[in-house]
Subunit: 136 residues, 2 copies
DNA sequence: TTCTTGACAAGAATTATTATTATGTGATAA
DNA sequence: TTATCACATAATAATAATTCTTGTCAAGAA
């Protein structure tokens, strides 16, 4: 909560609502998701404000922008290094907090200086693959 | 080339041109990129045709759609399992053909059935990080 | 004053629509 | 067997429509 003030962002009800919705949220919501959720309390809220706030938060490093969805951006309040497990059927995304040692062989890496990585795991979630294992 | 016929797709000059442009192309072009390139030979080509063809090829498994770019979709003719190294400065993407053993601990994976993974490595390419290492 | 909001316009990427055109296929003729 | 033709079907191109995101700017709050 204090976050905002300390980093040069004014504390507004809209921003608090957005931050509140994001904090601890493991659902990787899109801007639209956030807009819908927050609109309940703030019916006058503008979608542009959501984008503005998300962008401000991202710049300050309080959220990260995920590219796991080809259709839209998704946002994640967990900025600590982690990975994602995506259900290829229902598209649900689960956080994976685990470390992997990944060394790219030098001849493959070339002269790149590696700074990080992000793993997308694909799979079928319990709901979609409940025992029956129906293949298409 | 025969591919198309055998999988129930009609062979058209436009599709051949798109396939030809993609084959062996390591640049992960967007639909727009492909459109521009192929338009040289086929000035009447429509962007919708590019999207149609890409979608048909993807459905048949001849290309994969990448989500590494938040702004647009990118396409890759290399359907074999591989990963990507992205320059955080110039956004250039390099293929990484290497295998990594990635086992998610069972308590983290839950009841998901893992089917695959894709790693995005981030780094600074030789061009962007040429000795001087200028940080912003 | 300075920053933020909200309304709306604008832009970019993608998808949908539809009349027109080209392709593959099967039948027929050589 | 090979070539030709007609036709059903699928693909193209033009354009409209949608969706997601960003930009603009006047009005309001800090």
């Amino acid at each position: 909560m204090q976050k905002f003030k300390n980093i040069g962002l004014k504390l507004t009800p809209q921003r608090l609502a957005i931050l509140g919705f994001l904090e601890g949220n493991p659902d990787h919501p899109s801007a639209e998701d956030i807009y819908k959720a927050v609109s309940v309390q703030f019916p006058t809220m503008s979608l542009a404000t959501v984008y503005n706030t998300l962008d401000a938060l991202r710049e300050k490093g309080y959220i990260i922008e995920l590219t796991i969805d080809p259709a839209k951006k998704r946002f994640d309040p967990f900025t600590k290094m982690h990975h994602h497990l995506i259900c290829t059927s229902c598209k649900r995304v689960k956080d994976i907090h685990a470390d992997f040692m990944l060394d790219i062989p030098e001849q493959v890496r070339g002269d790149f200086r590696i700074t990080g990585n992000h793993i997308e795991f694909y799979g079928v979630c319990p709901v979609c693959g409940n025992g029956h294992e129906r293949r298409i």
